[in-house]
């Protein structure tokens, strides 16, 4: 891949439990992203199935190598990297909250969510198994799903393993406080900006929109430059295709003068 990447974020709504309808929408948005010249298109967490599945989780699970939906997405992706979210079933019948990178006729990368929030409104630990490792970055692209970003050493480990772009797929429910920006968004921007600052890398954060069971997803997807500046942002609540040009050379240049990743004491931090 060239150092210049046209990143697309597909800030979509998904129909809960309706894979056929969601697949349709994915194909449509992949088409739109091709028209905009995207090299990478990121869909939200569990984009193919919807998020709050509870006891529907098993019914929408797929084994990626046998899934017609994944085959159709791979065909549509072509040379573009497409990150999609799904309920993945493994050979032992364990279900995972998984993100796949699809490109060039294959599943190029797979990340199984490592931290499954099971508190407050979240119930993932009841239905999913947790992934067991970080998948190594490919072409400088590291994958995390939602809650994974709240455990900062994962982003650090990916940076140490060569990630220059952190892709975070999310289904982050919104909540309001007194401010004009949803409180949930303030927390996310603190996290994504901190990750871009301390790991001196790009962060591509894709959050979904829409309502499930009376709870809304904020949207507000954004791209953060190495060092922490937000360079582009989707609106709250509405679907949006956000296209942003990024250059991974900016990572190298910042790391020359701000060598945080190089200086990491893995002997003490225990990462990498």
């Amino acid at each position: 891949m060239s150092t210049k990447i046209t990143v697309g974020i597909a800030q979509i709504d998904s129909r809960l439990g309706d894979v056929a309808a969601n697949l349709e929408r994915h194909l449509e948005w992949i088409g739109r992203a091709h028209e905009r010249g995207a090299d990478l298109l990121v869909f939200p967490e569990l984009s193919l199935t919807g998020y709050r599945l509870l006891h529907l989780t098993g019914r929408v699970a797929a084994i990626p190598s046998e899934s017609g939906a994944i085959r159709a997405l791979i065909a549509a992706a072509g040379a573009m990297k497409v990150v999609v979210g799904l309920v993945e079933e493994d050979e032992k019948g364990v279900l995972y909250n998984t993100a796949l990178v699809l490109r060039d006729g294959a599943i190029e990368q797979r990340h199984r969510k490592l931290y499954l929030p099971t508190y407050g409104i979240f119930q993932e630990g009841r239905f999913f198994g947790a992934g067991s490792d970080l998948s190594p970055p490919i072409d400088g692209l590291g994958l995390l799903i939602c809650e994974d970003l709240w455990h900062p050493h994962l982003a650090r480990s990916l940076a140490l393993a060569g990630a220059k772009v952190l892709v975070v797929s999310s289904a982050g429910p919104g909540h309001l406080g007194p401010g004009a920006v949803p409180e949930s968004q303030e927390a996310w921007e603190a996290l994504t900006r901190a990750a871009a600052l301390v790991n001196t890398c790009w962060v591509v954060y894709c959050n979904r929109v829409g309502w499930e069971e009376g709870s809304f997803y904020t949207g507000g997807s954004h791209v953060v430059r190495p060092g922490g500046e937000i360079v582009s942002r989707s609106p709250f609540l509405d679907e949006d295709l956000l296209v942003t040009e990024i250059d991974t050379r900016e990572v190298d240049r910042l790391r020359w003068r701000l060598p945080l990743v190089r200086a990491t004491r893995t002997d003490i931090e225990g990462t990498a």
Partner: protein, 278 residues
């Protein structure tokens, strides 16, 4: 830890953003269920006025049907205020007097019933009419219960607390007032003393024995922030009011659950099989 002076500020909403979120909720619910619109009981009070205004914004006035459902002892101002709201929003309003239905039952079968039972019956009669009209119009019944009254259980179970969708259920009473002002609903509606209007002279605050603004703050500390009654009193709230609110909240939890099903199998509805409705 949060101090008493900070609580009111925490209950401030950005009204523009909250309005956007709540209208999107109504629109999404109507679109996903394939309904044609919503049906709402418009009482002349601020809660139903706000719910209706949000629906009119979300769907357009032509997809909102307001029903005025007075009993013969309802205050005449209630209907006037309700009509003013409907007019301001440009929505269709239909009046159905529920006196004959209520009186027929009590006169024939239960002449001795007290006013609470009569009030409950009225609330359920209204609910029955709303769901009938919703069926007729392929609509959803729009709820009007706010978070304060839900937590206090100040409602009739399967009566005014019944709905298909409720945009107000996570708004404390003073947040309802904030939004109602923001949407410029008629002053007489926003400023009137809250009342269930089930009998002449009834007011919520008179019946509950404390002010809504206090109840909102105490409930926020108790329910949202998880403080104990003792910790709340230590912040300067009246001990008697706090214990009354605590009692109401715990005694009325049953009203917040739709059905309590006796579990016999290992696949009981809702307990073992949580299937989302969306």
């Amino acid at each position: 830890m949060i101090r008493k002076e900070e609580v009111a500020a925490r209950l401030q909403l950005d009204c523009e953003l909250a309005t956007r979120v709540l209208t999107s909720f109504i629109k999404d619910a109507v679109d996903t269920t394939g309904a044609d619109g919503v049906v709402v009981g418009l009482s002349g009070g601020v809660d139903s006025a706000l719910s209706t205004a949000l629906a009119a914004r979300a769907l357009g006035p032509e997809r909102v049907l307001a029903l005025l459902l007075p009993y013969r002892s309802s205050a005449p101002e209630s209907s006037e205020d309700a009509r003013a709201v409907a007019e301001q929003l440009g929505i269709e309003a239909r009046t159905i007097d529920i006196s004959p239905m209520i009186d027929a039952f009590f006169d024939t079968h239960e002449p001795e019933a007290d006013q609470v039972r009569r009030g409950n019956k009225m609330a359920r009669e209204r609910m029955g009419i709303l769901f009938d009209q919703a069926k007729k119009r392929r609509g959803l019944v729009l709820g009007t219960s706010n978070k304060t009254e839900i937590l206090l259980g100040y409602s009739t179970i399967f009566g005014d607390n019944a709905s298909s969708i409720n945009p107000l259920g996570d708004l404390y009473k003073q947040q309802v007032w904030q939004l109602a002002e923001h949407l410029e609903l008629p002053r007489s509606v926003v400023e009137k003393k809250p009342s269930a209007d089930l009998w002449p002279g009834q007011t919520d605050e008179g019946e509950l024995g404390f002010a809504y603004r206090t109840a909102d703050e105490v409930l926020y500390l108790m329910f949202d922030r998880g403080l104990s009654a003792r910790e709340i009193v230590a912040r300067g709230y009246d001990a008697e009011v706090v214990s009354k609110i605590e009692l109401l909240e715990s005694r009325n939890r049953f009203k917040r659950r739709l059905m309590l099903i006796a579990r016999l199998s290992s696949s009981a509805i809702n307990l073992d099989r949580e299937i989302p409705r969306d």
